[in-house]
Amino acid sequence: MTLRHLFLLGTLAVIGAALAWVFWDAVAVQAPGRLADMALDRVPESGVSNPVTAVLLNFRAYDTLLELAVLMAAILGIWSTGPDVPGFLPAGEVLEKLTAAIVPLLILSAGYLLWVGGHAPGGAFQAGALLGAAGVILRLSGRPDAGLPPLTWLRLTIVLGVLAFVAAALVLMAAGYGFLTFPLAVAKWVILAIESAATLAIGATLAAAYLAGEPLGVRT
């Protein structure tokens, strides 16, 4: 350990102590509750019954919109670096059988998580992560395209999340409700539609990100 490292550690330890004290003070002394009561009280107005989904897809939907844009930016950035790297060798027998068993289960679980997110822990991101994992498994077991559709369709799938969200928001604004204001009557269905689009987009983005490049193969 060099002197520089020691100095760094020392500084961080002091900062850590200060942070710990401030955190302890803020948590212990300040009134508990913060935004919790306000949020939980208004969940019935949001169209879903799971409070976290209500926050993500209704109260703070704008953050989620930008977050989907971040995902899109990442995959577009990855694609701009060049073609994807060559795939792995095809799977052996055992891996092949396992993959054939697990991947459909993953897709099924993803669909379940998407649906159940309205009233229990779950939602678009969780479901999308499972789909992404399915794609990674397919890639690791030798399929170069990771189960993704051909490039033209893949492009559409990638943008689907942001597209659905922005389209819904603009339509609602034009209809007089306000940007990202979901009227209670349709809130549940709008949220479900956005989440479904987002699930596909997130799953495709995560799987495509694993390819580390644009799948420019002849499959277009």
Binding site: A18, L19, W21, V22, F23, D25, A26, V27, Q30, A31, G33, R34, L35, M38, A39, R42, N58, F59, R60, A61, Y62, D63, L65, L66, E67, A69, V70, M72, A73, A74, L76, G77, I78, W79, S80, T81, G82, R155, L156, I158, V159, V162, L163, V166, A167, A169, L170, M173, A174, G176, Y177, G178, F179, L180, T181, F182
Partner: protein
């Protein structure tokens, strides 16, 4: 029922989606979206000029439950500047990129544009974090677009450093929420009292943002990243992205942490800013390459912006408004001037095949419009009249003397002298032997390009705005900020 604030963010997002889905049409989609977005931004500007402030509660939930967008004189002016500069860069980019890079540029560029607008209009501290990340990822991806080793390395470093800054900022947000129970800027400002919580949250949030704003000595990542990026991207990075991070520092300083900050931190920021002015100007003077010169010049200009902080902290309210006006004017002028400089540099680089300053003479002489644009941009960077920068620096000088803090004035003078040195060193190449001699010197093994008429326009326009428009028409700015002009 049109929510102009939301439109400035939503339109580029939509455009990016379309440009990514239909790559063949991306330039057209990109330009059209740019025009629409700029219109929305101008509408916001006009509305603010009348109403003073604009606020929109997204989702109808109101704060603190939901997220709001807000624009006042400061953010409105920066929003308009950013959109106009972005429009100019888009027009330039139409002619700049070859077909291969084109389809990658436009979707990412529109995402960056959306992030900028979202950032200027943000009123929620966590929302600011998300916009910062979108901005950082899009900017790093665009910077590495050329695909060269140096470009990728520099922009990877930019991405990593940016992430360090964002994570630090996010911890500050977490601590803020722990103590205050709200994420809205306005509500948090009302509940915040001076104390360890405010100090810690402030240090974390401002620290992360200062890293992104490239305040000396946290500027190290900027010159390589900006110099290696393609010219339109460099223009956006230096003129807009860095400005956005600075705007956040300013916003937190005068709004959220207003009760907490005092002369001490102000002097610290001013001192670091002075370091940036001197070091940035020196390195710019010593640069061999044009884009590196421009990048170091950005470090210096950011330093100038931070020189205002100690004066702001020590001044009484009416003087504060005047200083804020000058600060805004300097930021606006620099935005246009730096964009003009980088766009001109890009054209020179295309024409000559390289950007080594010593050998750019023939290229400069054969592109008189570009040389003129560069000259005007240089005038604004140095701060000569009638540019907006002159007025701003003049106010900075007179105020620092008026408040008995003459050492800041000294830094400004030294910095201005050094800026003149590197600008004139650059422009000296414009005056030389006749054109026909140069036609022989151009070409060779390096790949050069003919430069069309249309692509030279944006650079020239922006330089003109910086020097003429902002200089002669600066008075309304103070009205925008809600005070009388000096």
């Amino acid at each position: 029922m049109i929510d102009w604030l939301a439109l400035t963010v939503a339109l580029p997002l939509l455009g990016s989606v379309l440009a990514a889905a239909i790559p063949a049409r991306s330039p057209g989609i990109g330009m059209a979206t740019g025009l629409l977005t700029t219109t929305a931004a101008l509408s916001v500007g006009v509305l603010i000029a009348h109403a003073g402030e604009l606020r929109s509660d997204l989702g109808g939930w109101g704060v603190p439950l939901g997220i709001a967008l807000q624009a006042d004189g400061l953010s409105g002016a920066l929003l308009v500047m950013a959109n106009l500069v972005a429009l100019g860069i888009s027009a330039y980019a139409l002619g700049y990129f070859a077909s291969g890079l084109r389809r990658h540029f436009w979707p990412l560029w529109l995402l960056l544009w959306s992030a900028l607008n979202a950032l200027f209009l943000a009123a929620d501290v966590f929302n600011i974090y998300v916009t910062l990340e979108l901005l950082g990822i899009a900017a790093a991806a665009l910077g590495a677009l050329t695909g060269g080793q140096a470009a990728i390395a520099a922009n990877l470093r930019y991405l990593l450093v940016g992430l360090l800054g964002s994570m630090t900022y996010l911890l500050g947000v977490a601590i803020l929420y722990t103590g205050l129970g709200t994420l809205d800027l306005r509500l948090a400002a009302e509940s915040l009292t001076p104390g360890p919580l405010a100090w810690t949250a402030g240090a974390l949030m401002l620290g992360g943002l200062l890293l992104k704003a490239a305040l000396f000595p946290l500027h190290f990542w900027l010159p390589p990243a900006h110099a290696q990026a393609p010219a339109p991207v460099s223009a956006a990075l230096s003129a807009l992205v860095v400005k956005a991070a600075f705007y956040l520092v300013l916003r937190l300083w005068i709004d959220l942490f207003a009760s907490v900050v005092g002369p001490g931190p102000g002097i610290l920021l001013g001192a670091l800013g002075a370091g940036g002015v001197i070091w940035g100007s020196w390195r710019a003077f010593r640069s061999e390459r044009l884009k590196l010169l421009a990048a170091y010049s950005t470090v210096a200009q950011v330093g100038y912006l931070f020189l205002f902080f100690p004066l702001l902290a020590a001044a009484a309210l009416p003087k504060q408004q005047e200083l804020l006006g000058a600060l805004l004017l300097l930021a606006l002028t620099h935005g246009f001037a730096k964009a003009g400089l980088f766009l001109s540099a890009g054209l020179l680089q295309k024409h000559a095949g390289h950007d080594r300053i010593a050998e750019l003479g023939p290229a400069i002489r054969s592109l008189p419009a570009v040389a003129f644009a560069m000259g005007l941009a240089g005038v604004a960077l140095v701060g000569l009249p009638p540019s907006g920068a002159f007025i701003a620096k003049w106010i900075l000088l007179t105020e620092s003397f008026a408040m008995d803090r003459w050492w800041w004035a000294l830094v400004v003078l030294v910095g201005t002298l050094m800026a003149s040195a590197y600008v004139f060193r650059l422009l000296a190449n414009a005056f030389g032997p006749a054109a026909h001699q140069d036609a022989v010197e151009l070409g060779g093994d390096v790949q050069t390009e003919k430069i069309g008429r249309m692509i030279q326009a944006p650079a020239l326009l922006m330089a003109l705005v910086a020097v003429v428009l902002l200089g002669l028409g600066a008075e309304p700015l103070w009205g925008l900020l809600g005070s009388s002009s000096p």
